[in-house]
Amino acid sequence: MGAVKNYLSVAFFAFWGGLARYALTEAFSFYGTALANLLGCFLLAFLTYFFLRRTNARAWLNTGLSTGFVGAFTTFSSFNLDAFKMLAAGSSLPALLYFTGTIVAGYLCAWAGKKAADFAATKMLERG
C-alpha cells in the first residue's frame, strides 16, 4: 500500500514539476532550463538533507516533492540537447561556457541547499 501511495505521489507532483519547467523554457528559452536545473539542485539538496534530520515527516510527501516535483522540474537530457544545439549552430565558445558553467553552478547550488538545510534544522532544534 505504501508503495502505491509513493508512485501516485510521484506522478502527481511530477506533472507540476514538468509544467513548471515548461513554463520557464517557454518564457526564457534555454535560460529557463538552466534556471530550472540550478534552482532544482538547491531544492533537492535542501529537501534531502532537511528530511534526513526530521524522520517524522510523511514519507509519501517527501518522495512526491523530491523525486516527483524536483526530479521532473530538472532535466539532464535537455541540458545536453541545449549544449548540442549551440555546438551544432557553430557557437562553440557559448556551448562550452554553458556546459561547464551549468556543471559547476549545479554542484554549488546543491552544496548551498545542503548548507541551508543544516542551518534550518539547527534553528528548529534550538527552538525545540
Partner: protein, 119 residues
C-alpha cells in the same frame, strides 16, 4: 500542449522512480556508485537526441521530449548524489560518476541525434 507536457512528465518520473527502486536493490549491492541515475540520464540523453532529430510535430515533441524524457532524466539527483559521494569521502567514485555522466551524456545525445537523422 500543457496537458501533454504534464502527463508526459508524470510518466517519465514514474519510470525513473521505478528504475531507481529496482536499481538500488540490484545494482548497488556492493557499491555506492549511483548506477540507477547514471543509466537513466544516459539513456534519456540518447533518446532525446533521437527524438529531436526526428522533427516530430510540436505536440508530439512536447509530450515525448519535454514531458516524458524531461521528467525521466534529472539534473538535481545527479548533483545531490555527487554531494553525498563527496561527503562520504568517495572521491574516486565521484570523479568517475561526474565524467561518466557529463561526457557520456553529450556523446550519447550526439549518437542518438545522428541515428535519428539516418532513420
Amino acid at each position: 500542449m500543457i496537458f501533454a507536457v504534464g502527463f508526459g512528465a508524470s510518466l517519465g518520473a514514474l519510470a525513473r522512480f521505478g528504475l531507481t527502486n529496482y536499481g538500488k536493490k540490484h545494482w548497488m549491492r556492493q557499491t555506492a556508485f549511483p548506477w540507477p541515475t547514471l543509466v537513466i540520464n544516459l539513456s534519456g540523453a540518447f533518446l532525446l537526441g533521437l527524438v529531436f532529430a526526428l522533427n516530430l510535430p510540436a505536440f508530439v515533441y512536447a509530450f515525448l521530449g519535454t514531458g516524458v524524457l524531461g521528467g525521466y532524466t534529472t539534473f538535481s539527483t545527479l548533483n545531490t548524489e555527487m554531494l553525498s559521494l563527496a561527503d562520504s569521502g568517495k572521491k574516486r567514485l565521484l570523479k568517475r560518476y561526474l565524467l561518466a555522466s557529463y561526457l557520456g551524456g553529450i556523446c550519447l545525445l550526439t549518437a542518438g541525434y545522428y541515428l535519428g537523422t539516418v532513420l
